[in-house]
């Protein structure tokens, strides 16, 4: 057993804000009030996993045992540029317009 096994029982509003930030979500004050006890209750429930004996147990991420599925690297017909852009909120000369990530300096 490692030291970090035991997670905190209840989340605080600050924890919830921090998780929202990590998840790239903006939550309102009222959502924070609702989510904090709801997420705490769920985390409290899932904490019972720590009682399960998993010594010498391998983790499972895939259930049917497939591995290393290969195919020939052949280019096949795919979406046209206009189809690929057809749902973009804003385009310019065949490109998607994104928000600026640098601020302009004087």
């Amino acid at each position: 057993m490692t030291v970090i096994m035991k997670a905190k029982k209840a989340l605080t509003a600050t924890d919830v804000r921090k998780i929202a930030k990590l998840a790239n979500l903006v939550i309102s004050d009222s959502e924070e009030k609702i989510f904090t006890p709801q997420l705490s209750a769920t985390l409290d429930y899932v904490n019972q996993l720590e009682k399960a004996d998993t010594e010498h147990v391998e983790a499972t991420a895939h259930v049917t045992g497939l591995e290393n599925v290969f195919r020939e690297d052949v280019i096949e017909p795919t979406l046209s540029q206009s189809e690929a852009l057809s749902n973009a909120p804003q385009t310019y000369n065949g490109y998607i317009v994104v928000k600026a990530i640098f601020e302009e300096t004087e």
């Binding site: 970090i4 979500l25 997420l39 429930y45 391998e58 499972t60 497939l66 599925v69 195919r71 749902n87």
Partner: protein, 470 residues
């Protein structure tokens, strides 16, 4: 034609013998949707002109003597299925106006088999829910009693079949989302083996759990559709090269000598409703009278199943939904509904530094134990029998403010997805006027046996002949 009782088998015969045309069939369904769907909320988009032009093509093919498995058969697709040029929202307003430029593989398979796409059905947004109430648009209602939920997340597809709006309702099942609505709406729902039906083009919820299945009125209809949808796809590397049997050929075979297991952990649970228990035990008795040998089995890690599920699934959700940023399509992330936000945040927390080992990695190990429970049990018995839901369909609003209570209503169905095995829900009776389903669980890629057992049971009981009266 009586759309409330019509089956695919009957419709195919009637189309072939020119009793009615595909255009007449589609028009009848559209009329019925227009008359009744305002009470039920099954559809988000009805593609009237598209369906009618497909029906005309089907009639032309029938006139030429062409036969296909689903020629002229209407299908309603859950809104997670990408449909070329037809609005696809996942039940979520963040992609309210999205029109995919391509079809999901499974949609192409339906169309190649001659099926007609009627429209897109309502659902819990992204598949997150067990009641249909988490749709960002409006809740879907149970046609047997509109004050009750139809079950989710494939809520609209189940209601579309039960209410006589379509002959097939497509679904996805990550934890309960085909079996629960099928059981709540008195129809047959198949949750396939993981990887049996391609996921390509179906909007992802939790990629190592998601399965692509369907709901129909009868077992025969369900097996016939499965012959169309199952099989490997080069675009989904998790679909193995396992041959697809003719599932309809396993119907009608005797059950003599087959062994069925009853998980003691499920039936000893306090949360199981008295009516559900009675109806389920009666159904099991019926299967015994048909020659099955029934014995008690154990799935010892059942107590950890929901905790395991609610760590791993939100983790995969938080990753899959990170792509919705409003740049390439859709609106910005503040448009996510409350349940999507909760699940993204749970998953983000479970995967975050310092918590990954305690939550995600621990749950992935517990997943191994639960999978082994099923493997060991299915060495002793051919199928496992259980209720789908511990309760009959609940009332709208009953669990909506208590997400944990909603999650725990899936205790008999989620473990199946953790193990990746197939399971079928077949109607097995009523609690008052509310339908109840029996769950038949089998070995990976052993769906024929599920159909064999379900069809023998259905032949004896014919619960599907009690339609919802609208």
């Amino acid at each position: 034609m009586n759309l409330l009782t019509l089956t695919i088998k009957e419709a195919r015969r009637a189309l072939q013998s020119k009793e009615f045309s595909a255009v007449e069939l589609v028009r009848a369904y559209i009329d019925r949707i227009q008359t009744h769907d305002s009470k039920l909320g099954a559809f988000l988009t009805v593609d009237e002109s598209g369906a009618l032009s497909q029906a005309k093509r089907a009639d032309a093919q029938i006139a030429k003597g062409i036969t296909k498995k689903l020629l002229g058969i209407p299908v309603a697709c859950k809104d997670l299925y990408s449909t070329r040029a037809v609005r696809t929202t996942a039940g979520a307003k963040i992609i309210d106006t999205y029109k995919p430029p391509y079809n999901a593989t499974v949609v192409d398979r339906y169309l190649e088999a001659g099926a007609i796409l009627m429209g897109k059905t309502n659902e819990d947004a992204w598949g997150h829910g067990s009641s249909g109430e988490n749709s960002d648009y409006f809740p879907t209602r149970n046609p047997y009693d509109t004050t009750h939920v139809p079950g989710g997340s494939s809520s609209g597809s189940a209601v579309a079949v039960a209410a006589g709006f379509s002959l097939v309702g497509t679904g996805t099942d990550t934890g309960s989302s085909i079996r629960l609505p099928a059981s709540f709406c008195n129809i047959v729902g198949m949750k396939p083996t993981y990887g049996r039906v391609p996921r390509y083009g179906v909007i992802s919820m939790a990629s190592s759990f998601d399965t692509i299945g369907h709901m129909t009125r009868t077992v025969y209809d369900n097996a016939l559709v499965y012959e169309v949808t199952a099989g490997a796809d080069p675009r989904d590397a998790t679909t193995p090269q396992v041959p697809v049997p003719m599932y309809t050929e396993s119907l009608g075979k005797s059950l003599k000598g087959l062994r069925a297991g009853i998980p003691k952990e499920y039936f000893r649970s306090n949360g199981i409703d008295k009516g559900v228990r009675e109806v389920t035990m009666t159904a099991i008795g019926k299967l015994e009278s048909l020659g099955m040998r029934v014995e008690e089995i154990s799935l010892p890690h059942t107590e950890y199943a929901m905790a395991c599920y609610y760590v791993l699934v939100p983790s995969e959700i938080s990753s899959n939904l990170s792509r919705y940023d409003g740049v390439r399509f859709g609106a910005t992330r503040d448009t996510f509904g409350a349940e999507a936000k909760r699940r993204i945040m749970l998953g983000t927390h479970a995967l975050s530094a310092g918590y990954y080992d305690a939550f995600y990695h621990k749950a992935a190990k517990v997943r191994t134990l639960i999978k082994q429970d099923f493997e060991k049990a299915l060495e002793k018995v051919d199928v496992i029998l259980a209720p789908v839901s511990p309760t009959p369909p609940f009332k709208l609003g009953e669990k909506v403010n208590d997400p944990l209570a909603m999650y725990l209503s899936d205790i008999f169905v989620c473990p199946v997805n953790i193990a990746g095995v197939p399971a079928l829900s077949v109607p097995c009776g009523f609690a008052g006027i509310l339908p109840i389903g029996l769950q038949i669980i089998g070995k990976q890629f052993g769906e024929q046996l599920l159909y064999q057992v379900a069809s023998a049971y259905e032949n004896e009981t014919e619960w599907y002949k009690k339609p919802a009266i609208l």
